[in-house]
């Protein structure tokens, strides 16, 4: 059983409330941080090797060190709690069950960055979670952990929660800042990056919920101790939200040394494929990352066991690999239709495109229409090529990564499951009542241990 750094105490009764959280050792990292220089805290985070947990995996310490510090200009920390990537529900779990961990991480991070007012931008639909956070903030304030001169340190900090209103795009950091300023969530052209010109034109760091929560064990135990967990550049622990056709969907904290196979089939994690079915495919890091057929999921093209960490999941690039992304782990069993599933994701991206860039605005609509056409047995062979062509013309041609996020799932589906698309075209009637099934997607390379 792997080490737990974030959710270790999540099951303690009453941990949602200050008294219990404090009794269980909460807020110790703040006491420690106040004895350090802000720059030393940034150094510890650098040493820890912590990578952004929202999806991009950018080194957090490096992001922090980019923050501009012009004289007399306020700086801001904004926590990205706009968790909207299909398959991802880990931040919700953390905020719902152990909200003070986020508040604690935010106080330490705000101190390190010099932010006296920090914001949590949470997706609007998490209405009750936002209430839980507000209550936690009130408690922290009452006990002197927020407000003026926190615990006699001379440091002032307050935290506010802002609810979004239903827009996936606001998870992109500059769209989030636009939204926090009361505007449409249209991503900004970069540079300037938020570290130089962010919220209201001031230097700003935007970090994911899980990233900020991880600062707590990093400060408590030291950056090097944190870095000693895991493997290579995948240090510390990662929250994985597992869903789809598995026996035990839920949020799991892993230390990134286990294999994908163990994660899916062991009782400690997903507990195997539901209803005794076979594994067909999986999207390991949220809907935007490439889908992999069972054989490539469990074993890399080099023939190595694929592991649940950043490097191994992306081994082989997009040709034969995928990405860790946000940790949204979506499992598809043998009864699922890849074309229909890809259509549902394409519909999602069309709905969520902000409309600023033509390739994304128009392209996502075309991909949705073509996928529906093929799925409903009206497709032609040339539609598959057209679909490939469209996704290629979106990728890399937009202001923000939503374009890439929309293109990748379609590209990977065609790359690995083209025969299933062709089967739909060749069997216009049969495809309405039957599924293509497992075909050779789970062929051994490998037989999973049950």
């Amino acid at each position: 059983m792997g080490r737990k750094l974030l959710l270790e105490k999540a099951g303690v009764e009453g941990i949602r409330f200050f008294e219990t959280y404090r009794r269980e050792g909460g807020y110790k990292s703040v006491e420690k941080a106040f004895k350090m220089q802000p720059s030393d805290i940034v150094e510890e985070v650098k040493k820890s090797g912590l990578r952004g947990r929202g999806g991009a995996g950018f080194p957090t310490g490096m992001k922090w060190s980019f923050l501009a510090k012009p004289e007399g200009v306020p700086r801001y920390l904004v926590v990205n709690a706009d968790e909207s990537e299909p398959g991802t529900f880990k931040d919700r779990y953390l905020m719902e069950f152990i909200p003070h961990l986020l508040i604690e991480g935010m106080i330490v991070s705000s101190f390190a960055l010099g932010s006296n007012t920090s914001y949590i931008y949470i997706r609007g639909e998490y209405d009750w979670v936002s209430d839980i956070l507000e209550e936690a903030i009130i408690e922290a304030r009452q006990h002197g952990w927020l407000g003026k001169n926190i615990q006699g340190s001379g440091f002032d900090c307050d935290i506010h929660v802002q609810r979004g209103a239903g827009a996936y795009i606001c998870g992109e950091e500059t769209a989030l800042l636009e939204s926090l300023e009361g505007k449409r969530g249209n991503p900004r052209i970069k540079p300037p990056f938020p570290a130089v010109k962010g919220l209201w034109g001031c230097p700003t760091v935007v970090n994911n919920v899980e990233t900020i929560a991880a600062v707590v064990p990093i400060i408590n135990e030291g950056g090097e101790a944190y870095a000693s967990i895991g493997v290579g550049k995948s240090t510390g622990t990662k929250l994985i939200s597992a869903c789809g056709n598995i026996n035990k969907p839920g949020v799991y904290e892993i230390d990134m040394t286990i294999s994908v196979e163990e994660f899916i089939y062991s009782e400690e994690y997903c507990g195997g494929i539901a209803n005794g079915k076979k594994l067909k495919a999986c999207i390991p890091g949220g809907s935007s990352v490439p889908i992999l057929p069972a054989n490539l999921l469990l074993t890399t093209a080099k023939g190595e066991k694929r592991m649940m960490n950043y490097e191994s999941l992306s081994d082989g690039g997009f040709a034969t690999g995928s990405m860790m992304g946000s940790g949204g782990f979506i499992v598809l069993d043998e009864d699922q239709c890849i074309v229909r599933h890809t259509y549902s994701l394409a519909r999602f991206y069309r709905h969520e495109s902000c409309g600023q860039c033509s390739p994304c605005r128009e392209g996502t609509g075309w991909m949705e229409k073509l996928l529906l056409k093929i799925e409903s047995g009206k497709g032609e062979m040339s539609d598959i090529d057209l679909l490939w062509d469209i996704q290629r013309k979106i990728e890399g041609n937009t202001i923000c990564p939503l374009g890439d996020a929309a293109a990748w799932p379609v590209a990977a589906a065609i790359r690995h499951f083209r025969d299933e698309f062709e089967w739909h075209v060749k069997n216009p009637e049969k495809c309405l009542t039957q599924n293509y099934g497992l075909a050779h997607y789970a062929d051994p390379i490998h037989v999973p241990v049950q």
């Binding site: 299909p86 007012t117 209103a165 449409r184 994701l345």
Partner: protein, 155 residues
Amino acid sequence: MSRVNEIISRYPDGKQKSALLPVLHLAQVEFGGWLDVPTMDYVASILNIEPIEVYEVASFYSMYNLKPVGKHVFEVCQTGPCMLRGSDDIIDYIKKKLNISVGETTADGMFTLKTVECLGACGYAPMMQMGKTYREHLTKEKVDAIIEECRSKMN
């Protein structure tokens, strides 16, 4: 108004436009579950911004209703992970049960059915949002019970 002033106090002086999303949420709850033009104009006046700045925001975000909705709004997730767990069947069942299509409201003004994109409850699928909370692990029986629950609240 005290709620509105509290929200505005969260931002630096002159940045009261940042209060727009939270204030629209408040307005929608206060004024019958949707935002009509006079309500949006009122929000513009209290935040001292142009009405167009409110319209463009209200029309961008999917949680703001720009036309009337029923007393209970069923927002059923239809994205990939929910689809894998049978959300299509749940949506069909609600349609038949309430005799409405997606986007419609029942004649008695009780129920509106909407399909929405991923709500971050993929591990508890299929699911829907109902007001402030989520209803998860939906089955046909659960849908029946929820509808009954809504109806009994009315009496």
